[in-house]
């Protein structure tokens, strides 16, 4: 099948397409053929597809207007199922075989749209329509919004998991160049020459920018050949990274640029292998913005009918893609650049009906060139209205006065099927705006150019309003050399001779945005400013009549620039119309500020590989795989995976925990306590420093001894606790909670470095170095004795709260006789390489005693039976030691204060009726209170009840045969024996008695056992 048959607007190969290589694709369910190098938009235009979507509010048929990121109408949904992508611009979607796309807007189809019936009553939906109509009653807003969004058809998000993978690269460079048009290419080359690390990124598949559609010559080469040579030159530098298909979408503080690289989107809906998209997080010393400019369409009546396009886009489709999107062209322009479109169209062999120029005197080089080709040029006129249904049929033109503000004569018709307009150019100042630079209105270029730089950046070429090719090349080269120098590379001088190119003499453009109609804006057929959100000139003027003056308010009231195109085409026209309505200048009116993202960005790329098992680190102890081999269930404690309990076949969690608890109380259990934070502390002032950090004193702690301590923040509230051991002279080991380890080390460093630098003490984390196996229970000593023969384990030689160096299972070990269960306990510490083997030896040694591995749940039950607190569970950052009934841990006679001491005398911390830690025993022994349950004294009171405290820990104690709970209760220590009540969400009311928080072995005989 010949391409000419199916693609009526294809004239051959363009600079980027191969007309001999057809590609099949479908759009809105219909099959079409494009060619290699096409975008979806160029392929649709080649096939004469006029209507690509329906407008947001009025559901008017819409066709393709632009050729890149500025496209407001060709918004499509790509593919279906898990990998479907909503809201892509057809102008940016590269065609691949089998591509399936559909319009996001328009139901049941774009050619017959039910919503269009609403569109027929368009005047019923003025700006602010939603605010005016749907605000009341307020509670219905969510309902309204749902239907509005559905009707608006903003595309469908996939409901299945994304099958693709995404990743991120952290990049650093001296010079980042955004945009690989003429300015960007020479900027990169100048910077590269200095040896600077250079990254040059461009959102398009090919470098070259506007040159890809240019017929100009540079250094005697066709523009596209010059681009090819430049790219080869850049590739030859090993200090240059070229990133095509990469959009710089956000410019953040510290010269941080986020760039999205589309790695496989041009090949298919999902990546066959590798990552679909890659987020480059670039930290650049210097940035050159060479992002180009967007041609501004003219606003006139019915300018949204399919077949009205930007003039430069028409040129691009002709030269770059070999697609001439119509047969009879009328151009309306305020400047010279659109004449190139007329010339290109003419040379493509199709009819230029007329170039309608709003200026009355015309003498530029391009004008002359067009006239020389016999092209009909009509001066002093404008296209005031397009006519047609789903495609332009004719243009209405009329003579205008000198400043283009009024029609001065009668209108006449020009039959045509394409109207191309050019209202001048708007620099792409988006990235500059992201930095906070305030755009400046420039009368000369009739556009906003970048404001004073807020970052280490400069703009070059069209994005700062320089539109001649020679000017872009000169500015780019200079910017590249300057950026390199400021990044510390080169002398700032340009090295390469400036490329030479023809210059056209151009006459000034006219500052015209809204082409007047014979009727006023409010009476004329709709003159569209923002195509995507259906904002009209009349709408902007209405907003002014209703009292809006600020450009930001008008934006929000009318939705101007709120679409996924961020108003790249419409915003400036909107500002100009607003300024005119307000009777002030555009400079006085100002512009809204652009924010990231420049174009929509996938969430996948922002997440990168931080998904699934890599979402958050899982920290493992050296014994982790033994635990999982034993079928342990794990609990997250910070980032650690700790065994929670070890269920045996058929056991519930409750069964397993009961079994584990009883094993410890009756014989022996073993716990992996490796996750506890451990900090090695050395220095002549170590004891003094530690004594200032804990509430109690360590000055007299002798080598071989351990002591339990509590740390407070300055406000007197408990923030960590643990045992500290004296390892030798000026040498200590501090244990912290598992979750608190990093925070405690930072805390120690903070105080040493900022408050007490004179104290000589060093801290080193040894958490990961040690594997800690806690062997606990009445038979613990017997187990240890089997694998350790160089420590005298007798109670006299090795009492409770002592530690010893020794050899356990053949490995040098530190053994601590400390206990969190209330039983006889030995905590065996060995370097982690040996952790697994020593653990297994302990298991083997304990076999005859039924040694039972237990997890954190059993640990919690056992310690709760003893009334030992867990910081972070029984405390919440608002508990003092007194609240925890732990005044015994406060050093009364310390020479130096300790952190938090002063706050223990605050009126709030000494007041009566603070919540205090007590035990709770449910009247019904089998009832286990839910943790977090609120406590009231009077169960019969009205809701809201007066809450007197809450349950912090609660378990069933197999050892005691009833449930136990720890709770904080107002004035609890004075209320021993009183009844309290816990009203539960399910309506039950559980009664309990306040008891001592120590349920088991209150005298501590078991851990002292000889």
């Amino acid at each position: 099948m010949s391409t000419a048959v199916t693609q009526k607007n294809r004239t051959g190969s363009g600079s980027c397409t191969d007309a001999s290589a057809p590609i099949q694709f479908t759009f809105n369910g219909k099959s079409y053929q494009g060619v290699v190098g096409d975008t979806l938009a160029s392929a649709l235009l080649a096939n004469g597809v006029d209507v690509v979507g329906r407008s947001f509010k009025y559901a008017r048929p819409r066709g393709i207007v632009g050729h890149g990121a500025e496209e407001p109408n060709g918004i499509i949904q790509l593919g279906s199922g898990a990998a479907t992508v909503p809201n892509l611009k057809a102008t940016q979607v590269e065609l691949y075989p089998g591509l399936e796309a559909s319009s996001v807007n328009g139901w049941p189809n774009v050619d017959f749209d039910l919503m269009g019936l609403i569109g027929a009553f368009g005047r019923l939906m003025p700006p602010g329509f939603y605010y005016k109509t749907f605000m009341y009653p307020k509670k219905l807003w969510m309902t309204y919004e749902h239907f509005i969004r559905q009707a608006a058809g903003l595309g469908a998000t996939p409901v299945e998991n994304d099958p693709d993978s995404y990743d991120k690269l952290n990049q650093h460079c001296d010079v980042l160049v955004v945009g690989a048009g003429p300015a960007g290419l020479v900027a990169a080359r100048e910077a590269a020459r200095t040896g600077a690390r250079v990254i040059i990124a461009d959102e398009q598949a090919q470098f070259g920018g506007s040159l890809l559609a240019s017929k100009q010559t540079i250094d005697g080469l066709a523009a596209t050949d010059w681009v090819t040579a430049m790219v080869a030159e850049l590739e030859a530098f090993d200090n240059v990274q070229l990133l095509p298909r990469s959009t710089a979408f956000g410019y953040y503080d510290h010269n941080f640029m986020a760039i999205l690289e589309r790695r496989s989107d041009h090949l298919g809906l999902t990546a066959a292998q590798g990552t679909r998209q890659r987020l480059h997080r670039v930290r650049a010393r210097q940035v050159v913005l060479a992002a180009g400019a967007f041609e501004r369409p003219l606003v006139f009546a019915q300018n949204d009918i399919p077949g009205v396009m930007a003039a430069t886009s028409v040129t691009t489709y002709i030269n770059r893609y070999g697609v001439v999107p119509g047969t009879k062209l009328v151009i309306c322009t305020t400047n010279d650049s659109a004449y190139q479109t007329a010339i290109d169209w003419h040379q493509a062999g199709r009819e230029v009906v007329a170039v309608v120029d709003t200026r009355s005197v015309l003498d530029g080089d391009l004008v002359a060139a067009a006239k020389a080709l016999g092209i009909n040029v009509i001066a002093g006129h404008g296209v005031i209205e397009a006519q047609g249904g789903k495609r332009v049929k004719r243009a209405l033109i009329a003579p205008l006065n000198d400043d283009g503000s009024a029609v001065t004569g009668s209108a006449r018709r020009l039959d045509c099927d394409l109207i191309a307009t050019s209202g001048g150019w708007s620099p792409a100042i988006h990235l500059s705006s992201h930095t906070g630079a305030k755009p400046i209105w420039d009368e000369q270029i009739v556009g906003f150019r970048p404001g004073a730089s807020k970052q280490q950046e400069r703009s070059a070429g069209a994005c700062r309003g320089t539109y001649s090719l020679a000017g872009c090349l000169a500015e780019g080269a200079s910017a590249g050399a300057e950026a390199a120098k400021l990044a510390g590379c080169g002398d700032g001088n340009m090295h390469f001779p400036l490329p030479t190119c023809e210059e056209y003499a151009q006459q000034p453009q006219q500052a015209l945005f809204l082409v007047p109609h014979t009727k006023s804006a409010s009476r004329a057929p709709s003159q569209f400013v923002d195509f995507q959100l259906d904002v009209t000139a009349g709408g902007v003027e209405l907003a002014v009549r209703e009292g809006f003056e600020s450009v930001e308010h008008v934006k929000r009231y009318t939705a101007l620039g709120f679409g996924t195109d961020q108003g790249k085409l419409g915003n400036i026209n909107g500002m100009a119309i607003l300024a005119n309505a307000l009777g002030q200048s555009i400079a006085e009116t100002g512009t809204t500020i652009f924010r990231p993202s420049y174009t929509p960005t996938t969430f996948g790329a922002l997440a990168g590989r931080d998904v699934n098992q890599l979402f958050d680190p899982e920290r493992y102890t050296a014994v982790h795989r033994w635990h999982s081999d034993q079928g342990a269930k794990f609990e997250d404690v910070g980032q650690w995976k700790r065994p929670w309990y070890f269920p045996q076949a058929g056991e519930s969690m409750h069964d397993a925990v009961n079994r584990e608890c009883l094993a410890v109380r009756n014989s022996v259990g073993i716990l992996d306590a490796s996750t506890l934070g451990k900090i090695d502390i050395q220095g002549p002032d170590a004891a003094e420093f530690i004594t200032r950090m804990y509430t109690n004193s360590y000055l007299k702690l002798a080598p071989g001894k351990c002591r339990y301590g509590v740390m407070l923040k300055e406000d007197g509230m408990i923030f960590d606790d643990g045992v500290c051991a004296c390892l030798g002279e000026n040498h200590y080991l501090m244990f912290t909670t598992t979750g608190g380890a990093a925070g405690v080390l930072s805390w120690l460093e903070l105080w040493q470095q900022t408050e007490w630098p004179a104290l000589q003490v060093y801290f080193t984390s040894v958490t990961d170095h040690w594997t800690t196996a806690t062997v606990t229970g009445p038979n613990a000593r017997k187990v240890i004795a089997k694998v350790c023969n160089d420590i005298d384990l007798s109670n006299e030689a090795f009492p409770f709260m002592d530690w010893r160096d020794g050899t356990v299972a053949g490995i040098k070990a530190r053994v601590f006789r400390i206990s969190f269960t209330g039983e006889l306990s030995y905590e065996v510490n060995v370097p982690a390489h040996y952790g697994r083997q020593v653990w297994e030896q302990l298991i083997a040694a304990g076999e005859e005693f039924g040694i039972t591995p237990y997890g954190t749940e059993t640990m919690h039950v056992l310690r709760a039976e003893k009334g030992f607190i867990i910081v972070g569970q029984d405390t919440d950052g608002s508990m003092t030691p007194g609240d925890m009934n732990m005044d015994w841990v406060l050093g009364k006679n310390k020479a130096f204060s300790y952190i938090g001491k002063r706050s223990l005398d605050r009126s709030d911390t000494v007041r009566e009726n603070r919540k205090q830690l007590v035990g709770l025993k449910t009247l019904e022994p089998a009832d286990v209170l839910p943790e977090g349950a609120q406590i009231v004294f009077d169960p019969k009171q009205q809701i809201p009840m007066s809450m007197q405290g809450h349950v912090t820990s609660s378990y069933y104690s197999a050892c005691l045969g009833h449930s136990i709970a720890l709770a904080v209760v107002k004035g609890g220590l004075e209320r021993m024996g009183q009844k309290v009540y816990c009203p539960l969400a399910d309506g039950r009311m559980i009664a309990a008695e306040i008891v001592s928080s120590v349920f088991y072995d209150p005298k501590g005989e078991r851990h002292h056992v000889g």
Binding site: K168, R283, A622, T764, D768, P831, Y834
Partner: protein, 213 residues
Amino acid sequence: MSVDSKVQTPLHYFHGVFGRPGIESDSSKLFNTDVECGLVIKEAPLSAHLNVRGDAGDAGFCKAVADVLGVALPTDPGLCNHNDSISIYWLGPSEWCVIALGGDAAELEAALRAKLSGHVSIVDISGGQTLINLRGHGVETVLKKSTVCDFEALPMAKPGQRGVTQSTFAKASAVISNRCDGSYDLIIRRSFADYIAQWLLDAGAEFGCRIER
């Protein structure tokens, strides 16, 4: 210190694991040296790792360390001095990491303590971390995926001296050091080793990746 099978380095369970497109990165896959890999991760197991703190301005301290280790103490930020077996990594103004390949930490600590006096700290952290080397043409991309630090800006590696920095690594942390041969050394914490190994296998998959002992 003898290497026996009961001793488990932090990457014990990953030796021989490789990941590449289409191949599961799990430990059931056998080590296969025939596979061309753009990222090869090799652990330097069971070495002596000491954390040393002291006053860099104290010439006596610096000389004593150099005398015992045979390597000058780097006092400038970002430098690692080394010979064939011992490397001293600068970690901070008063902090260094000493790694002696195949060394005995207790002996090394004793030797240092015998020569050092005053306010110093020497801590054996051999069990708590491991040294891994990353080589292959994919290594720089993998590092860019993993760390925000500009490792290309490290002091140039030359015989006897390398650059070193501490930074985030994925969502964990690592000491990163360059080598003359273009490869990089990482020092990673034991408890994060599984996570980092999985991260590296994933990040290196596009090049083909294996972990060897």
